[in-house]
């Protein structure tokens, strides 16, 4: 089923910065996202984490306000303001009670156009971020995901850790931060999306003032561009060794595709049947429903301006982790060799078409979709085309795309668990040699 909704009131500010805001007066709230079209991929070597650090520091002091003043004003307004850094974008995301929107937008504009990079705050932030890096080592699921990217994209921009590396963070200088700011923060590298109880004029004023405030950042003006990552030359097994684990975290997968890859919608359906479609997917059925091996088992694509990853994850008990891993390898190979069945195809098609509207049924979801469309250079409305595109697909097209896409011998397999238990089981049950299993202490930065 295809849903129709009110169209976005697309606003083009006087400069070239795209602005998309959808008015929604159901609740007295305003949500705004100012998006920088680059993220951790633009961190220079030796400065890993600088983009995220810069975004955090910008909210800690402007030419007229200290961090404390900013914090007090934000809290007084009942506002939330956070910086979210991803591989290829940084989102300054704010929400506020509608009655305070004018003050709020003015403060957000000031944070973006007039940061003061206070030295004392920079010192404090370094300690906080190093603490976050250390704290994340205690979270196995996040650690497995991070290490998976580092292993699959080793040497490529996508492998850069968003928070950075401890030493790089500690060594960042004010000059490096100022240079990074003037290089990336300019009108052609930013856009705005949002929704809520605000008028077109208010958002236009905000956009105009933002672009006017960034007009000096033109000397080093840069836009991001990265090469496509290459497939691994062979399957890579990495254990992130952590003592006393009763459960392991597994992430496995390969280099993926872009949204505009001609195989995208075909693989969307195949992934739905394999592990993206909830309880009826093959992974959930085989791993959780039939065997109780893991609370969850799912697969998904990650996207970017270049192909990122197709990956799946599960978290079985240590005792049967290798058995579960082997089962997933067999399932991936079978998917490549035999594709999905007609029944799976019909089911996934019906389910995906019927549920497609849920990806754009609220103003906030439509706003998030526009972020992806603009950042990845997709046509407006791309994210809403899913149902229409899936309708015309045939089973043979889907299975041909799967056969072409899947590369089981070029996957990265990352396991957070206890190596002394896992290595013998892997050599015995998977038939791989011990020298082909890389083991790193969980505290080591890759």
């Amino acid at each position: 089923m295809i849903y129709s909704f009110l169209l976005f009131a697309g606003i083009q500010s006087v400069q070239a910065m795209p602005v998309e805001f959808e008015k929604d007066s159901n609740l007295p709230l305003v949500h705004i996202s100012v998006v920088l079209k680059t993220g951790s991929v633009s961190d220079p070597k030796g400065q890993y984490g600088i983009t995220n650090f810069l975004g955090e520091l910008m909210a800690r002091g402007t030419k007229t306000r200290t961090k404390h003043q900013i914090d007090l004003e934000m809290d007084q307004m009942g506002a939330q303001f956070d910086v979210e850094t991803r591989a290829e974008m940084m989102i300054f995301r704010g929400s506020v009670l509608a009655r305070e929107k004018k003050k709020f937008l003015n403060l957000v504009r000031e944070i973006l156009t007039d940061p003061s990079f206070p030295e004392a705050e920079s010192r404090k932030l370094k300690k906080e971020i190093v603490t976050s890096i250390l704290e994340n080592l205690g979270r196995d699921q996040g650690l497995a995901n991070q290490r998976f990217s580092e292993v699959l994209f080793s040497g490529h921009e996508f492998s850069k850790p968003i928070l950075g590396r401890k030493k790089d963070i500690e060594d960042l200088t004010q000059e490096q931060l100022k240079k990074h700011y003037s290089k990336w923060f300019h009108d052609q590298n930013l856009f705005i999306t949002g929704s809520g109880d605000a008028g077109q004029g208010e958002i236009r004023d905000f956009a105009d003032q933002l672009t006017a405030g960034l007009k000096d950042n033109i000397a080093d003006k840069a836009t991001a561009g990265i090469p496509a990552p290459k497939h691994l030359s062979k399957k890579r097994f990495v254990i992130i060794d952590k003592p006393d684990r009763t459960q392991v975290q597994i992430q496995a997968g390969q280099v993926g595709i872009r949204f505009d890859d001609p195989r995208y919608f075909k693989l969307y359906l195949a992934n739905h049947a394999f592990g993206g479609g909830g309880f009826t997917s093959r992974l959930m059925q085989e791993i959780r429903v039939k065997r109780g091996w893991s609370y969850g088992a799912a697969s998904h694509f990650r996207f970017g301006t270049q192909p990122r990853s197709w990956q799946y994850g599960l978290f079985p008990k240590s005792d049967y982790a290798v058995e579960a891993l082997k089962k997933t390898f067999d399932m991936v190979q079978s998917l490549k060799d035999n594709g999905i069945t007609e029944a799976e195809f019909e089911f996934s098609k019906s389910s995906s078409i019927n549920s497609a509207g849920f990806s754009f049924n609220t103003p906030q979801k439509r706003s998030e979709n526009r972020i992806l469309e603009i950042a990845f250079g997709l046509p407006k409305g791309f994210m809403e085309r899913t149902a229409a595109e899936l309708k015309n697909l045939s089973l043979s097209e889907v299975n041909s795309a799967v056969k072409d896409f899947l590369q089981p011998d070029q996957m990265a397999v990352v396991i957070v668990g206890t190596a002394k238990d896992l290595v013998p089981a892997m050599t015995e049950k998977l038939g791989i040699s011990e020298k082909d299993i890389e083991v790193f202490p969980y505290t080591k930065e890759l």
């Binding site: 089923m1 849903y3 909704f5 007066s25 159901n26 609740l27 007295p28 709230l29 404390h68 914090d71 007090l72 934000m74 809290d75 007084q76 009942g78 939330q80 929400s95 506020v96 009670l97 404090k124 300690k127 906080e128 190093v130 603490t131 976050s132 250390l134 704290e135 080592l137 205690g138 979270r139 196995d140 699921q141 952590k242 003592p243 006393d244 684990r245 009763t246 459960q247 909830g278 309880f279 009826t280 429903v289 065997r291 109780g292 091996w293 893991s294 609370y295 978290f315 008990k317 019906s350 389910s351 078409i353 019927n354 549920s355 497609a356 509207g357 849920f358 049924n361 609220t362 505290t443």
Partner: protein, 449 residues
């Protein structure tokens, strides 16, 4: 495909047969912003609350049961949550997995369930599909309210799934381990002392009979609230719900007696050795139930302490370089529970340092009135929290369902936010003094192995 359709139309006769002749319809109550709630009830005690919102041709359908881990008994901990998993298995009318399969096929989104200390909820969103899906979900939810089957084999497999969930959320998570432990230390009598997910040994010994006994005792229309938010016509939705649930009989309550937790008169401590690189602190203070008159003031106090970057603990712990992050939560439970304060230390700093700072801040709050600006900041943040918690159909349904269970009526959930706006600086001092007593605290410290 055809077979499924035949099954679905022929097997629901038990639930469909007799619509209740006695039902209460159509009271309209304000919610927030543009939203209004249509309240209905059936003679078997089932409550139905509907918010019409036609912005999208979809609707959220949630079923809330007034049962959680507080209704369990020692030796059977985790049964409420394990049973929640079993609700997705088979019924007299649906084969194993047919519930999921049927809903996924019509495009259901966010199919899930969750169990807390006080309630269990089953949630999903569906496309309207010309009203067909409301009929479908009412038919299927009413079926599993009364016709569930539990066999030993399915229970054993699902118990292993839950053991894996427990390993994920508790055993292999430093924060989860500490969260489980703090309730185990702070409570000695009340069922809040055991984790919602249950203890490993209790789960291992659970049988199909335990599950069916639990079902018969706790799953009945008089313990349920249905919330529908979305593009539905309230009176038509009421007719649909009445058609499918009207003949399900109410059941007498079989709740075990819940012991009252005695006052904690001395500090309780526990240190856990964990796979962590920075120390962690978790403190708990006993607070009254959410319906208590002091609950709104305790929420404002929590906001003054740790909500927002200008909050007291953010400044004294994070900005001063002692911690990487800090947070505070009220558990918002139906019975007296805990106000929690958490801190993740910076590298090289000790959890005991944060504890000392927190105690100092609490002392200040109990002796010196909070200024007007600070008080209004805290209230504004709670107002924002309230509205942002209503920003989608499923969140609206969540608020209504939870408020109906915990407060007995969602409008009292709304009044709670009115009461927050009336909290004074003196109220804050009083509740800080009464509830955040240093001698009544429970302290968990996580240190590196």
């Amino acid at each position: 495909m055809k077979l499924h359709r035949i099954l679905l139309t022929s097997v629901f006769t038990t639930a469909v047969a007799v619509a209740s002749s006695c039902a209460t319809a159509g009271k309209v109550e304000p919610l927030a912003g543009e939203y209004k709630v249509h309240r209905f009830s059936l003679s078997n005690g089932l409550k139905l609350l509907i918010v019409k919102n036609s912005d999208s041709p979809t609707f959220a359908y949630q079923t809330w049961f007034n049962v959680g881990s507080r209704n369990e008994v020692p030796g059977k901990t985790g049964l409420a949550h394990l049973f929640e998993h079993m609700m997705f298995k088979e019924t007299k009318n649906l084969k194993p997995d047919e519930f999921d399969r049927t809903l996924e096929k019509v495009g259901a989104e966010g199919m899930n369930a969750f169990t807390s200390r006080d309630y269990t909820a089953y949630v999903q969103e569906l496309p309207v599909a010309d009203g067909k899906n409301l009929d479908l979900i009412a038919k299927m939810e009413s079926d599993r309210m009364v016709n569930l089957l539990v066999n030993e084999k399915a229970l054993k497999t699902e118990t292993e799934v839950v053991q894996n969930e427990r390993r994920l959320r508790n055993e292999n998570s430093p924060d989860g381990t500490m969260y489980q432990e703090i309730f185990g230390v702070a409570f000695t009598k009340h069922p809040y002392r055991w984790p919602v997910i249950g203890y490993e040994a209790d789960l291992a010994s659970m049988t199909a009979k335990d599950a069916m006994d639990f079902y018969k005792s706790h799953y009945a229309p008089n313990r349920a609230v249905i919330v529908i938010v979305g593009d539905v016509n309230p009176s038509e939705a009421f007719d649909t719900v009445k058609k499918y649930y009207g003949s399900i009989p109410a059941q007498p309550d079989h709740d075990p007696k819940i012991e009252v937790e005695p006052e904690q008169k001395e500090v309780r401590r526990k240190t856990l050795k964990l796979n962590i690189q920075v120390e962690k602190l978790m403190m708990g203070f006993h607070t009254p139930e959410m319906t208590h008159a002091d609950a709104p003031a305790l929420d404002v106090l929590r906001a003054v302490l740790a909500t927002g970057k200008s909050s007291r603990l953010q400044r004294s712990l994070v900005d001063m370089g002692l911690c990487g992050s800090t947070a505070s939560f009220n558990m918002n439970d139906a019975d007296p529970s805990l106000l929690m304060i958490m801190a993740n230390m910076q590298k090289g700093r000790r959890a005991a340092e944060a504890e000392a700072v927190i105690l100092k801040e609490l002392k200040k709050l109990s002796t010196t009135p909070v200024g007007d600006d600070e008080l209004s900041r805290a209230k504004n943040q709670l107002t924002y929290e309230f509205y942002s918690g209503l920003d989608s159909a499923s969140e609206l349904a969540n608020f209504i369902g939870q408020s109906e269970i915990v407060f007995g009526n969602f409008s009292k959930g709304m009044q709670y936010y009115d009461l927050i706006s009336k909290v004074t600086a003196d109220d804050l001092m009083r509740v800080a003094k009464n509830y955040l007593k240093p001698e009544g605290r429970t302290v968990l410290m996580g240190v590196s192995k």
